[in-house]
């Protein structure tokens, strides 16, 4: 279906090629997962398939990519539109029209399909993706998962033989991600569509993959392999695979189900042990609290009489579906929204009445898009600005950056940093003012496992130093590793609040993979298991 022949891509102005020597063939009718650490050229590889690289991005492509027999060098993306459907990382950037139904029809209109066919396919796709109730809705009013489904639907209607998706589930809550993956699964099984997708959250997708296209980076060659075999030497692996590797299972399990079958002996070995208790802070002082807080935007009540407290030295994970009120709660704690009723207190004052310059030293928020926070042209200038904003001694921000990002030189433009590096820089900027309460909104979006592990280490250090952390996240693995407490929010109300082990294990959607494998024992993460096994005689 896709044939890469000695493919190398070099972007203008960069010394090294973004991709080098890719030579393989993706067979038809398979769900092929593209795996690799961040910055290894996954998006570039996907771009070469849809023809956007190099026709839109510039750069030099050597070698050849053939999709269903068409050479992407001689065919522009629009001439591949009938065989390749591609959706980028941000579905909003993909929409041309303003309502769901028009969006589904757009691609077919461009291809000039007859009206009767278009009508029939739109109806079929609405059913296939469960979008019928949304057909007349303006796209701007849809939630994240709905948008992703509309984006997939909009490239499905021309019946492409190949679907190319870049991180389709990264921004979604676990439930919405399952929806999208279920759709992909059906496309592959029922329609024989070939799907090529890149995803950082391997724990969500690897068990569905028929093949894995591994881009190991560091000069090693790309190769196509069976998922279990590829996972064995992949630099990025989901927790279930890590657990399998730790326990020495062969073949490596890819799904919770496989792992549970093999996990009998491990469960027995662990039966006599209990996970090392994470220190739940005792009666430390309150870092931030809301009391009966309601927040309204127009007719939508984002928060409803919500009581929430976070103490110093404690990490709390806020979970819940997209639009449940997590970001609204963070915004209220950092004074962006004045509550419609109820009181908020952070560091002894109401945050929305505290001037920003003063509030900075009480509470800091790293927003969902860390880039928003960065305004200077270089890392060094960013640090100087942060010192000035926070009134900290010159050099304090730079010291933090050096600790979080040892390898980044001063002169780098923040835009050229990778997603994880940018997050670290934003975190350093916020930490410069040393706020006792630190809020993070979706910190692991776009991070690979290595970057996530570094983030986890940093966050642990911060709580040990007495910072209070609140993380709004869909990432159950992150919550399991960092949080002492998990709070589940739905419709602006808290529906569950308790110690991480208790809350996440009582709900399959929020349980980390290790917990599912080793249930009923409350093991949550691979490091916990590793530590317990290391202690064993």
């Amino acid at each position: 279906m896709i044939r890469f022949e000695q493919l190398s891509v070099t972007y203008e102005g960069s010394a090294e090629p973004a991709l080098h020597g890719v030579d393989l063939t993706v067979p038809e009718g398979e769900l092929c997962l593209l795996v690799g650490p961040s910055g290894v050229g996954k998006s570039t590889l996907l771009g070469t398939v849809s023809g956007l690289v190099p026709h839109f991005t510039g750069g030099t492509l050597t070698g050849r990519v053939t999709v269903a027999g068409r050479d992407t060098r001689t065919h522009r993306p629009r001439e591949l539109a009938d065989i390749v459907g591609s959706v980028g990382q941000d579905p909003l950037a993909h929409f041309v029209t303003d309502t769901v139904e028009d969006e589904l029809a757009y691609g077919m209109e461009s291809l000039g399909l007859p009206p009767g066919t278009m009508r029939r396919r739109v109806e079929e796709t609405l059913d296939l993706l469960g979008l019928n109730e949304l057909r007349d809705r303006p796209i701007a009013t849809l939630s994240g998962g709905q948008r992703q489904r509309v984006a997939i639907g909009s490239v499905l209607t021309p019946h492409p033989r190949l679907l190319v998706l870049d991180e389709p589930t990264s921004a979604l809550d676990p439930g919405a991600a399952e929806e999208v993956l279920a759709v992909l699964q059906r496309l592959v099984h029922d329609l024989g569509t070939t799907v090529l997708l890149a995803e950082h959250r391997l724990e969500r997708v690897v068990q569905y993959a028929d093949r894995v296209l591994l881009l190991p980076g560091r000069g090693r060659r790309a190769r196509l392999a069976e998922p279990a075999e590829a996972m064995a030497d992949s630099p990025v692996r989901p927790p279930v695979v890590e657990l399998g590797a730790l326990a020495g299972w062969t073949p490596l399990p890819l799904s919770v189900r496989d792992a549970r079958r093999a996990a009998g002996p491990l469960r027995e070995r662990l039966a006599v042990r209990a996970p090392r208790e994470t220190e739940v802070p005792g009666t430390r002082e309150t870092a931030g609290a809301t009391e009966g807080v309601s927040l309204r935007y127009g007719s939508v009540e984002a928060l409803h009489r919500l009581d929430f407290t976070v103490r110093r030295g404690e990490a709390v994970a806020l979970m819940g579906r997209n639009g449940a009120g997590k970001s609204s709660l963070l915004g209220t704690l950092v004074g962006l929204h004045a509550p419609t009723r109820g009181t908020v207190s952070v560091g002894g004052g109401a945050p929305h009445r505290t001037p920003p310059a003063k509030l900075l030293r009480r509470v800091g928020l790293v927003p969902q898009e860390p880039r928003d926070l960065l305004c200077a042209d270089t890392v060094a200038a960013e640090c100087t600005a942060a010192d000035a904003d926070a009134g900290a001694a010159p050099g304090s921000c730079r010291a933090l950056v050096t600790r979080l990002l040892p390898e980044v030189p001063d002169g780098t433009h923040p835009r050229d940093l990778s997603e994880g590096q940018r997050l670290a820089l934003a975190l350093a900027v916020v930490l410069t003012a040393r706020p006792p309460l630190l809020l993070l909104d979706e910190p692991t979006r776009g991070l690979d496992y290595a970057a996530k592990a570094r983030l986890v280490a940093v966050l642990r250090e911060l709580t040990a130093e007495g910072h209070a952390l609140v993380l709004a996240t869909h990432d159950v693995e992150l919550a399991a590793e960092v949080a002492h407490r998990v709070v589940i929010v739905a419709q602006g109300e808290i529906v569950a609040d308790g110690a991480t082990a208790e809350v996440v294990t009582s709900s399959p959607s929020f349980a980390p993979q290790v917990a599912k494998v080793l249930a009923p024992r409350p093991w949550l993460t691979v490091p916990q298991v590793r530590a317990a096994l290391a202690d064993a005689p």
């Binding site: 950037a93 928003d372 419709q491 009582s506």
Partner: protein, 462 residues
């Protein structure tokens, strides 16, 4: 047997109820349907209706008639507008109308007016102006007549604006542009894309100002707004490049192979037509040549249209569910045209009532039949398809499954137990909890072969 006599009667009643053509059948057919993609009115009909009202407004300065026009437009908007983002523009147009009114009154107050009047309200100190500014006055007497004249005049302008606002609120602009001929398609897309960009820009500005606040800087004031300008532009540029890539990847700009002869004919017709239009217009405007001006103009328009039509053949595009112009569209546009036509007619029969004099000061009369004519504009409030008013349509978050409410007891019940909970052996928690995250419709039966027939697969691939 005792019931037998009743039998025919009941049968007769039910038959009458079901028979079409009876009272209920007719009423049911006449009642406006709920608007959806199939039944919704052609946006052109809304524009014709609104332009009809606007034409009527331009023919009168009678404040009572103008107020009636505003009321008619407002009522129809209130009755038939949707919850879509563009429908909210009506409020903006109302405010714009009031602003125009305010500005006109302020000018009339300070710059005086040429209307002679006897009722002096206040005398402002007059600023002496040099000779070259003759005819302009600054300050001086402010008369009630002058202000009244300005009010009538401004009211007319405000009514025009409000009529346009009504059309904007009622008709989806994107759908209107979709009705453009194929050769103008690109221009239509450009406008639609620009329209969807504006809300994104506003959202960007808001996000970046928030970020400024998070850095401990002031988020109000001119400097704060200016400092986000550059990143916002940068973001807009990035987004437009992204959109261009997405559009290209979806087949935008695919063209059919047409012969060079056809291409040349298209160019010739379009250029020739435009030239004809230019010369014709010039001839019409110039003193001499009115004789050949009109035919030349018409011929030019016809040629240009033919050029556009042939040019449309180069695009391979087809149209998904083009707007249909049905009986309801006819009646909506006809009501607007009727209001306009009757008001033009009234201009010759009731010239005084339509233009009540400001001097001397009198209460404006309400001419009866022109007022009745204006009321014809209410027809769309009955005829046009009604919008479904569902709370779900106006609120962005997806509907929440009912299980949420039940999660809490389940969670508490299980979370309280020592030693954690086994989700895999606890059917209560297992059955309810997975539905909690992610709202909206969910695919059921995924992974069960045969539970969903592959409707998709029946069609031969292109």
């Amino acid at each position: 047997m005792a019931h037998h006599p009743e039998l025919p009667r009941t049968q007769g009643r039910s038959a009458a109820a079901e028979r079409p053509g009876t009272d209920r059948g007719v009423r049911a057919r006449l009642r406006a349907p709920t608007a959806n993609r199939t039944t919704s009115l052609h946006p052109g009909a809304w524009w014709l209706w609104a332009l009809g009202l606007a034409t009527a407004a331009s023919r009168t300065t009678n404040p009572l008639l103008l107020a009636l026009l505003v009321a008619v437009a407002g009522y129809v908007v209130a009755a038939r507008r949707s919850d879509a983002p563009w429908a909210r523009s009506y409020g903006a147009f109302l405010k714009l109308g009031l602003l125009v009114l305010g500005i006109r009154m302020v000018f009339a107050f300070f710059l005086g007016s040429p209307i002679p009047g006897t009722h002096v309200l206040v005398t402002l100190p007059e600023v002496p102006l040099p000779d070259w500014a003759q005819g302009v006055r600054l300050g001086g007497r402010v008369t009630a007549e002058g202000l009244l004249f300005a009010l009538y005049d401004a009211l007319k302008l405000a009514t025009l604006l409000i009529c346009v606002g009504a059309a904007n609120a009622l008709a989806n602009p994107a759908r209107l542009l979709k009705s453009l001929p194929g050769a103008l398609y690109e221009a239509g897309v450009a406008v639609v894309v620009a329209m969807t960009f504006a809300p994104n820009l506003i959202a960007d500005v808001r996000r970046l100002r928030t970020a400024r606040r998070l850095r401990g800087r002031r988020d109000r004031g001119v400097r704060a707004v200016l400092s986000v300008g550059l990143p916002v532009l940068e973001g807009a540029l990035e987004r437009s490049v992204g959109l261009a890539a997405a559009m290209d990847a979806r087949g935008y700009g695919r063209t059919a192979d047409v012969g060079p002869a056809l291409r040349r004919t298209t160019a010739l017709l379009t250029l020739g037509g435009l030239l004809g239009v230019c010369i014709g217009t010039y001839a019409l405007l110039a003193a001499e040549g009115a004789a050949f001006g009109t035919p030349l103009l018409l011929a030019g328009v016809a040629t240009a249209l033919a050029g556009l039509r042939i040019g449309g053949r180069r695009t391979v595009r087809t149209r998904y569910r083009p707007e249909r112009w049905g009986l309801r569209a006819w009646s909506v546009s006809a009501s607007g045209v009727a209001v306009a036509a009757l008001m033009v007619l009234a201009g010759s029969t009731h010239p005084d009532a339509l233009h009540p004099p400001a001097v001397p000061l009198t209460a404006p009369p309400l001419p009866l039949w022109p007022a009745a004519a204006v009321l014809l504009g209410l027809l769309p409030a009955v005829v046009a398809p009604a919008q479904p008013r569902t709370p779900a349509a106006s609120e962005p978050p997806a509907p929440v499954p009912r299980q949420t409410a039940r999660l809490r007891p389940a969670l508490w019940a299980t979370a309280g137990q020592p030693g954690g909970v086994d989700v895999h052996q606890e059917p209560a928690a297992g059955a309810e909890a997975p539905r909690t995250p992610g709202g909206g419709a969910r695919l059921s039966g995924y992974g069960r072969p045969g539970s969903h027939p592959a409707q998709h697969g029946k069609e031969p691939r292109q």
